[in-house]
Subunit: 304 residues, 4 copies
Amino acid sequence: MGVMRIGRAELRVMDMEKAVDYYTRVIGLEETGRRDGRVYLKAWDEYDHHSLILQEADSPGMDHCAFKVETLEDLARYEKKIEHFGLTLKRVSNRSRLGEGEAIRFELPTGHQVELFHEIDYVGKIMGLENPHPWPDNLRGIAPHRLDHVLLTGDDVDSTTRFFIEALGFHQSEKIMSVDGEVTIGSFLFTNNGKPHEIAFIKGPDKKLHHAAFFVDNWYDVLKGADILSKNNVPVEVTPTRHGITRGLTTYFFDPSGNRNEAFASGYITYPDFKTITWTEDKIGQGIFYHRREMLESFGRALT
Amino acid sequence: MGVMRIGRAELRVMDMEKAVDYYTRVIGLEETGRRDGRVYLKAWDEYDHHSLILQEADSPGMDHCAFKVETLEDLARYEKKIEHFGLTLKRVSNRSRLGEGEAIRFELPTGHQVELFHEIDYVGKIMGLENPHPWPDNLRGIAPHRLDHVLLTGDDVDSTTRFFIEALGFHQSEKIMSVDGEVTIGSFLFTNNGKPHEIAFIKGPDKKLHHAAFFVDNWYDVLKGADILSKNNVPVEVTPTRHGITRGLTTYFFDPSGNRNEAFASGYITYPDFKTITWTEDKIGQGIFYHRREMLESFGRALT
Amino acid sequence: MGVMRIGRAELRVMDMEKAVDYYTRVIGLEETGRRDGRVYLKAWDEYDHHSLILQEADSPGMDHCAFKVETLEDLARYEKKIEHFGLTLKRVSNRSRLGEGEAIRFELPTGHQVELFHEIDYVGKIMGLENPHPWPDNLRGIAPHRLDHVLLTGDDVDSTTRFFIEALGFHQSEKIMSVDGEVTIGSFLFTNNGKPHEIAFIKGPDKKLHHAAFFVDNWYDVLKGADILSKNNVPVEVTPTRHGITRGLTTYFFDPSGNRNEAFASGYITYPDFKTITWTEDKIGQGIFYHRREMLESFGRALT
Amino acid sequence: MGVMRIGRAELRVMDMEKAVDYYTRVIGLEETGRRDGRVYLKAWDEYDHHSLILQEADSPGMDHCAFKVETLEDLARYEKKIEHFGLTLKRVSNRSRLGEGEAIRFELPTGHQVELFHEIDYVGKIMGLENPHPWPDNLRGIAPHRLDHVLLTGDDVDSTTRFFIEALGFHQSEKIMSVDGEVTIGSFLFTNNGKPHEIAFIKGPDKKLHHAAFFVDNWYDVLKGADILSKNNVPVEVTPTRHGITRGLTTYFFDPSGNRNEAFASGYITYPDFKTITWTEDKIGQGIFYHRREMLESFGRALT
């Protein structure tokens, strides 16, 4: 199968204490460890040791994101494909991170650091593997099921798309094109797990994070999430709505360092034979905010 | 990737007119063609020519089900694996069915006929591929997104499970075991599309269909579905509830010939590294009907 | 206006510790006081001192229920109407119960004890009256908004209905009649607060409680409620479904003493000019369980 | 009881054909009659002949709104109270409107025309009064249950509030006050039917309509409504969110003439002893748009 899913994002935060409070109490992730000044977190419905790493830094943003591959052989196989595509690549040695084995690291044409890894400690879910209840007691905050996807900005959306398709076996679910069809403004990419996107790119400054998204089950959970954000005075940029792109249900907000987060639900299922949907730039408002049908100035501008 | 999804089920119905009325007006599928006494149908969110075929017959049941594979090469590759596993196999020639290319057909250890195919006409969704709306106007009935899975009964659940894993690359999300751990009572199998099950088997008489399930988006759609069933006087066997197994939300009912249908929503996401959940037989009630927590006599008995 | 709402039910429980644990941790009520061996509770969205009183006893059931009237004058006015109707009545003196002023008490034709009261201590909601959040933090369990209604059984449903209409100004939203129209099998009564029923009666043994219902906001909260009941191993008699009568969404279950509870959501709005809906006994299954469309044996039998 | 509910709003529209298409196909009301250039409409869950009247005019806005009282005696009683309060009043004769008996008409301190009426033809619901289904087949568009409330603007919010409380027996659920507590900026008024508001006033120009609201059952119906608006290219001003005030779930949009509409769901229950909630002007953003927490410029400005 190859790439199974986005396995983690490492975010830069400017005040670790505030960040941990936000990601555990408001988002509702569970802290699974600390080392080297980094805090490791997972969602209740994930079984790997972590899916989010917080790193204290002078500015916000995404240090890197990483995809988990099915086997160690995949790692070797992708190594060749990535080098063949022409990206420079380095090995990250075993246990460089808490709970993880070795990884390979490379830089996208958009300047983002991405890793592939296979080994990570299995922590499991609170409900266990025998006669489990559907959800654990004592959930806190928004309590998403998982890290869902990241959306990044960069100049060379086309090469980056081509890289994910050719080297990593991704497929493109949707793209946003200039009206003349010449310029790719957005590209949404999925791997073989049925989700509408695992990672996506919007034309913009290189190396920037647009948002990291967490999955919630349904439209009522999006509402509960937005309520919790207001109760906790978290800045909400986009109140609950639907995306035209992916059909997903969504709300956007910012962590204490200004990294944009999303609570995302629903969306269609994808398979390798899913035909790419095209949005033309004149309909980008409807594509991104299906109800509002116009872009939000901050949404294109606030990047970390 | 190999097997992408369940591509169709062909059901035997005893009164074609009633069956078509039920599957189009109550379930809300769209008729896409007729040939050789068979009626072909698809759901609004599917893009292949059909996912359900109705065949008039003297008794209800499932003629066969079929899985769509990603490439023609997959078909050849699986042919070898299936023969190597020891199942007899035959080729179904191109255009034996309306809108379909060639297929391979084999019999499971449980006696069910299963096919793999790759070629099928692309019909698309009403919303199209450019700036699409999230759902079409004029939906009717329960209006599921897709055929979701089938559950079959048979004696040799273990060999059948092994076949799907070894020959077809499936994984097992859940199993039901006798309390002593000796006998496999149920087996739930998924392929690489994130769904909790694509096909499942329960110990029972060979060659029988337990149910064919259609996917709806959420718990309110399960309610709307159950309301529509009552309005149309359709026999509802299991009113809206949650499964322990898959965590899915569900209601069960019967088509006019007595084939059991399910409206199924939600459920967790799967990946190849998902560890199999085990239910012990003493908790089977909770596993199947999480709220009722006891088996329903008809649920084990009514098979077609 | 007169009768504003059901103000409380006093239930008999056989093990106070278990009962308090259930009503606070599983149902999610808040304990507001104890006196004379009784425990007083309220829901988070109620502002009066209590809506549920638990009394330890040798057998389960409802000691009495009580309606809150708008003014002290209403109390005097209803006193006359009740005596004029022919029921014997007594005054309950001020502070006989924790947090309450005086009340009037009378016995229905069905043998149930009912009270009217006006004065009760104002406790308020955690969110307060200035710039309140929509719901408080730290909700537990099913967390209903309020005590919603009680359903009682008795022989003389007609006189009891007439009493509520003529003496207390209620209206009848629905009734269940024998097919020949001669016998009233069920009667659903509302007062001027928009709810589909405040109290209801089903023909059966006198003095018995069929159920006490708590209001939850929506169908997802009914699901959450049913999940919580299973997690806590509470006996669930009726899994989530819709009533034909009132259109409400519902699940039924039992407290540790065997008193039936309901989590009830939705339902239509009523006004004084709402015309009574009639269910004929041959459709009683559909009226009570809209999806199942047949009565459940235990539902008519288990009374406390 | 007196005032039972808002019985109708008569809106001015500039293109009757477009307006009827919008209110029947997009909103999903049913046309019940035409006379004198006016079109009469009702929602599927209302039983009176109409709740909305469309009147062709050169400018949009609300001609008047009217409340239905329980009895003819109420009409005479309110007549005296209204005159005693000091408002001039006139009788509207029987059958001045299609399907209606006589009414009394008066002008609020804010300049709005308001009527009280009792007699109106009973049309009923499609489901009927015997063994009814919970909802009719063939619903179209947003398909609200009813006209829910209107919000008007005017200068003298205090006198208008006092009028509704003293003359018409309303209660105040919420108010918005300037931070110094001197000026009433908003006033939300309910009658005895459990709803959080039947009519409301915001300080602003006299005689203006801010919005007319239709009730939908739940948060998923708000989403479906917003989707339908986008599909039909209706301008959506406020995408799905929660109000702090009333806790209601909402989306705002405009009819083809620019009259603002709302799809409103949920909200708390009220009784006469509900204590008024106070919002301070510094929190008005949170009060109106609980998730966004800031006012929307157009929301205060676009009036008809």
